[in-house]
């Protein structure tokens, strides 16, 4: 763990967009992924406009520095993108941005899962606007 990249260290020391939105709000999608037994749990919340644009994002993460950095970076990454665009985000972009070593790639995968889970949640409690993507796994 001696070889953290500067960007991981920066996100760890100064995490962006830490916090929570009201999870029952209609315009909020919440994704909680991972498990305490595995040492990683990420909560990602997206505030999505009626036009389907991510206006704001917040996160909280239990996990190693790379997990914290991955989720912190994702909150920056998703802002201003449409729901369809954020669903296309692949973990590889997180790996690249943060220079994650192979043993930390699962942190980026979890962050990708968190985005998908948050969008899915938003679609679910946002019936008519969300049904176009009801097949999201």
């Amino acid at each position: 763990m001696a070889s953290y990249s500067d960007k991981v260290l920066d996100h760890y020391s100064n995490p962006r967009n830490v916090g929570s939105f009201e999870k029952n709000a209609e315009n909020v999608g919440t994704g909680i992924v991972g498990a305490p037994e595995c040492g990683d749990v990420m909560k990602l919340q997206l505030k999505i406009s009626e036009q389907g644009v991510v206006e704001d994002a917040k996160f909280k993460t239990f996990g190693c520095g790379s997990a914290i950095a991955s989720s912190s970076y994702v909150t920056e990454l998703v802002k201003g993108k449409t729901v369809d665009e954020v669903e296309q985000i692949k973990n590889s972009i997180i790996v690249e941005e943060l220079s994650l070593p192979p043993v930390k790639i699962h942190c980026s995968v979890l962050a990708e899962d968190a985005i998908k889970a948050a969008v899915k949640d938003w679609r679910e409690h946002n019936g008519e606007k969300g049904d176009k993507g009801s097949a999201i796994a």
Partner: protein, 414 residues
């Protein structure tokens, strides 16, 4: 230079300056090979080694000739277990040990099992890390040739009831080995009172040099025989060939001498530091759990689980990699992320500590050179780091909302 605080004294210890001083002449003036029988250089070295043997044997109540010098505790454990299994293969092949032993024991046993040279019983420990001597008794069969139980655990500091186990071993006529690495020179050992037949120890855990250890092997009542695992010049009565590390041995002996003289005073001082660290942390943080035994533990060991924060992220906050302006603090974690296997600590698992808490564990290893001021500083840093990371933790937030995390995450997997 950046300020650093070393609180990882189970991993290794700094050399005591008095040890260094004792070693120095043996690098250049008295550099002889202890096996050179025909000149002064050799005689000096042999004398130094034999004097060191007396000092080491004296610490544990053994005889000087029963000490075998070797490279460290790992080699010592290997020679003890493999040497016994090989020598006594006609008598039996069953070994009894515990699930929280150091890997030097566990992997040695696994290797013997794989080669079908031994059958091994790994006894469980209780929630505080102690093995139940009556379970040792029950596990003994006609085939049992060796019991190996550590003196004190390297992660949680729990001290095992060796005297009781030794008594059972004697009664049943089974050899008793102990990996004493973490307790040697820190807590009193008497191999006769404790019924120990073989004992492994290492210099660098007691402010001596790295690369030198010992195996004490009982020579009488009963006499223990070993098959050598290193062939060569027949050094150490044939039990361990290879030119002796004279400087290392002299340093080890000096470290033992100091440990013996200062043990009582030092233990009291280190225990007070540990309590100070523990009290400060607990007075400011909730949901912090002690791993290991509350009293039957090494004075310098404090192993705490900080619920809802992951150990590696905690280390990152403490070790200075993310905060170049602060002192770099050296401690360890039982978190999976800090291990080569990406599995959380098998020791904490054996205690029944859930994986979710094992991931949050931090081991503080206090030693001879730690100060009250360092303890206060580390406690403050730990408290502020835990608070910061809990603000970042979804688990902390959920727990505060009254969500049962076990229920919530039931079915979630790696």
């Amino acid at each position: 230079m950046k300020r650093r605080i070393y609180m990882d004294n189970h991993a290794t210890t700094p050399l005591d300056p008095r040890v260094l001083e004792a070693m120095l002449p043996y690098f250049q003036e008295e550099f002889g090979n202890a096996a050179s029988r025909n000149h002064e250089y050799g005689w000096e070295a042999e004398q130094a080694v034999d004097r060191s043997r007396e000092i080491a044997a004296d610490l544990i109540g053994g005889k000087a000739k029963e000490i075998i010098w070797l490279s460290g505790a790992t080699e010592s454990d290997n020679v003890a277990i493999k040497g016994i299994v090989e020598f006594y293969k006609d008598k039996g092949n069953h070994i009894i040990t515990t699930s929280t032993e150091h890997k030097a024991i566990l992997d040695t046993c696994k290797s013997l099992e794989r080669k079908k040279l031994a059958r091994v019983t790994y006894l469980p420990v209780d929630t505080q890390g102690r093995v139940d001597p009556s379970q040792v008794r029950e596990a003994i069969t006609d085939d049992t040739i060796l019991i190996s139980v550590m003196l004190a655990n390297n992660e949680i500091g729990t001290i095992q009831p060796l005297a009781e186990i030794g008594k059972i071993a004697k009664e049943k006529g089974v050899f008793f080995h102990t990996d004493a690495t973490q307790g040697f020179g820190k807590i009193p050992i008497d191999v006769n009172e404790m019924g120990i037949d073989l004992l492994s120890a290492s210099a660098h855990k007691i402010y001596g040099p790295k690369g030198v250890g010992l195996l004490w092997v009982r020579s009488r009542g009963p006499r223990v025989r070993l098959t050598a695992q290193m062939d060569g010049g027949g050094h150490e009565r044939g039990m361990r060939s290879g030119t002796l590390n004279v400087t290392g041995i002299v340093g080890f002996a000096k470290a033992i001498e100091i440990a013996k003289t200062e043990m009582v005073e030092e233990n009291a001082r280190i225990l007070a530091l540990r309590e100070r660290l523990n009290d400060k942390i607990l007075s400011d943080l909730d949901e912090v759990y002690l791993n290991g035994h509350p009293t039957e533990r090494l004075a310098g060991n404090l192993n705490l689980s900080f619920a809802y924060i992951e150990g590696e992220s905690m280390l990152m906050g403490l070790n200075g990699s993310a905060s170049p302006d602060l002192a770099a603090i050296a401690v360890s974690s039982g978190s999976a992320c800090t291990s080569a296997t990406l599995e959380p600590s098998y020791v904490l698992k054996a205690l029944g500590v859930g994986d979710e808490l094992a991931h949050t564990s931090i081991r503080f290893g206090l030693g001879r050179f730690n100060t009250e001021e360092e303890v206060d500083y580390v406690a403050d840093r730990v408290i502020s780091e835990v608070k910061r990371l809990r603000e970042l933790s979804p688990l902390y937030e959920m727990a505060k909302e009254g969500i049962d995390l076990k229920d919530y995450f039931a079915g979630a997997s790696h």
